[in-house]
């Protein structure tokens, strides 16, 4: 999805300190050259296939389909190297960083999946790497912290604000402002200033292309494509394969958390209003005076008060339906997939699955593709804790 002068309709833009503008211009120019360069694209796709494990399969989930009365298909991004779709973007941007001659990359991470994927790409391409992570997230996603450190990245704890993803992005932006000459900011989602939303969506487009290819081969497109939405990267990845197919209903599922009251969720598109935050004008969870409100989700990858500008545009255009499911719904979908199909999904992806399982009436007899964006090993601590609470 290409931006028009950095905007998607009214959303997007470059709301960052002036000192970053030349870096954003340099990045946009390099990205356009990189994307247009056949040998760079071949190298990117070679790493995706030989290193990361693309294409990922689409699995027809027979047991759940039989139980729920619709045909459930899972796009198995959880099978990728590092355990989530994030690696598409980190390989792409790390290659781009080298292409630009940058020696150091920084990243933010919430659940740690983007951090691990960034640390992995840094190890692979010999780049210095620092990952900003809220100290609350460090606590709840320790296995990923250990992986990043093993991979040679420095995990930098952020103790500001709620000490989660939003605060990690702020800290990374502050680092970038300071070290803009030798550093590339490897932003992990379709948010932030232009060209990040367009570029990150471009590197993830492969998910949608593969998924569409699978259904084209079978002779019929899915009726529904469902993805969870935090910042919005996996959803943009898969939606892009179907945006021009009006017969395919696209559903973005946000974190409804423990309540739909302010502070109890991260359902930005469902409950937010347009605002300017961390580089872009998009939907934002904010109070009347424009302060960003606290967010909550059981899933560390979804608790973000902002959202990529493409999603704001797609919401207003009516092309994507955005909705939310609660922590409990997501947890119950998690267990359902584990027990019925032997797949341990990430809590993020469990939100998408939960929406499908809880809307079986509407979906009866339909082909429903859920983007299983990541695997759930990283969430075992949270699951154990939740089980403890229930007992």
């Amino acid at each position: 999805m290409r931006a028009n002068k950095g905007f998607y309709g009214e959303y997007g833009g470059q709301f960052v300190p002036e000192i970053l503008m030349p870096a954003l211009d340099e990045l946009e120019e390099a990205y356009r050259a990189f994307a247009a360069d056949d040998s760079s694209m071949q190298e990117f796709h070679r790493y995706l296939s030989e290193y990361a494990g693309r294409p990922t399969p689409v699995y027809h989930s027979k047991n759940i389909s039989a139980a729920c009365g619709f045909e459930l298909y899972l796009k198995r991004e959880d099978l990728l190297h590092t355990g989530a779709h994030k690696v598409n973007n980190t390989i792409g941007q790390a290659l781009l960083a080298k292409f630009m001659g940058k020696k150091r990359i920084i990243a933010e991470t919430g659940a740690g999946q983007h951090g691990v994927a960034t640390a992995t790409a840094a190890a692979l391409f010999g780049l210095k790497c620092r990952v900003y992570m809220g100290s609350v997230d460090i606590e709840r996603q320790m296995p990923n912290v250990k992986k990043m450190e093993l991979l040679g990245a420095e995990v930098f704890p952020v103790d500001d604000g709620l000490r989660t993803l939003k605060d990690a992005i702020s800290a990374a932006l502050k680092d970038w402002v300071t070290n803009v000459i030798d550093t590339h900011y490897l932003l992990g989602t379709v948010a932030g200033p232009h060209p990040f939303p367009e570029m990150v969506a471009f590197f993830h487009a492969v998910t949608g292309t593969e998924a569409r290819g699978y259904f084209t081969t079978k002779g019929a497109l899915p009726d529904y494509v469902v993805a969870c939405v935090g910042g919005g990267s996996n959803a943009m990845g898969i939606f892009q394969g179907f945006l021009d197919d009006p017969g395919v209903t696209l559903v973005g599922v946000e974190a409804g958390g423990r309540s739909l009251a302010p502070g109890g969720n991260a359902a930005t598109l469902t409950l937010g209003t347009p605002g300017i935050f961390q580089g872009a004008l998009s939907y934002l969870l904010q109070n009347d005076s424009g302060q960003v409100v606290d967010v909550h989700s059981v899933s560390a990858g979804l608790d973000y008060p902002g959202i990529g500008p493409q999603h704001g545009y797609l919401k207003d255009a009516g092309r994507v339906r955005y909705t939310s499911v609660s922590d409990d719904q997501a947890l119950s979908a998690f267990h359902e997939l584990v027990r019925r199909e032997g797949i341990i999904p990430a809590l993020e992806s469990s939100h998408a699955l939960a929406w499908a399982l809880d809307n079986a009436g509407e979906l009866r007899g339909k082909r429903v593709l859920v983007n299983l964006s990541g695997r759930g090993d990283k969430d075992l601590g949270i699951i154990e804790q939740q089980n403890g609470v229930k007992r």
Binding site: G13, F15, P17, G290, Q291
Partner: protein
């Protein structure tokens, strides 16, 4: 032109008013009043800390705007410094209308010069102070000169508020010269001024300076602030 930044209504409206008056009495030319936003991406720990403390006490942008209105009789030029979303949420034309006649302009760290145009198109009629930085290219100068502001805010560091500028580096000296050669506006140096010696160097290189972090650190102690202000002049 010598200026001081203070976080609005911090640590409370009365103390802020006294600090405000002290800055005017000490002979400064302008005062920047910070209107708090809770994701201040350009601010270091001191200013961000003061902002969060204010917000936790229930200070809202409207309170700070009322405070600015109540101080209009104090003879010093006034600017507001806040983030884009505060103005967006208040209403872009509404904010501008309410503050017209009170402010010389606004400084919005997450509105780069290119995006200022967008605010103007949406009805923001107060001058938006353009930024120059160590990364500013000669080709950027036309856009800076488009602004109705009569000052340019030069960010003297690669970094956030509270960093330290080094006025001896040829890079900084040459960049300020390039900017001055390409504009009729006054070039005010911000970010990184801490001592009287920094202030004098900034005046020698540019047309003035603004001090933020060091002043905010003393906002709770008006006497210490007064002594500090004297050390700058």
């Amino acid at each position: 032109m010598k200026g001081i930044y203070l976080v609005g209504c911090y640590p409370d409206a009365d103390t802020f008013t006294r600090s405000f008056a002290a800055v005017a009495e000490a002979g400064f030319d302008f005062l920047e009043v910070g209107i708090p936003f809770n994701d201040p991406i350009a601010d270091g720990p001191v200013i961000a800390g003061a902002i969060h403390e204010s917000l936790a006490r229930g200070v809202s942008p409207s309170h700070v705007m009322e405070n600015i209105e109540s101080l209009s009789h104090i003879p010093i030029k006034k600017y507001a410094m806040t983030y884009a979303n505060i103005i967006h949420a208040y209403g872009i034309p509404e904010f501008s209308k309410r503050m017209t006649g009170l402010l010389e302009g606004v400084i919005i760290p997450d509105i780069p010069n290119r995006m200022a145009r967008l605010f103007r198109e949406k009805g923001f009629s107060l001058p938006i102070v353009p930024f120059a930085t160590l990364e500013t290219r000669e080709s950027d100068m036309a856009m800076l000169n488009e602004s109705e502001s009569n000052i340019i805010y030069f960010v003297g560091v690669r970094g956030i508020t509270g960093s330290k500028s080094d006025f001896t580096t040829p890079e900084l000296v040459e960049k300020i010269r390039m900017i001055k050669d390409n504009t009729d506006k006054k070039v005010i140096i911000g970010f990184g001024i801490k001592t009287g010696s920094d202030a004098r160097q900034a005046c020698a290189l540019g047309d003035g300076y603004v001090v933020g972090t060091e002043a905010v650190m003393r906002q709770k102690k008006p006497e210490a602030l007064k002594a500090y202000l004297r050390s700058l002049i």
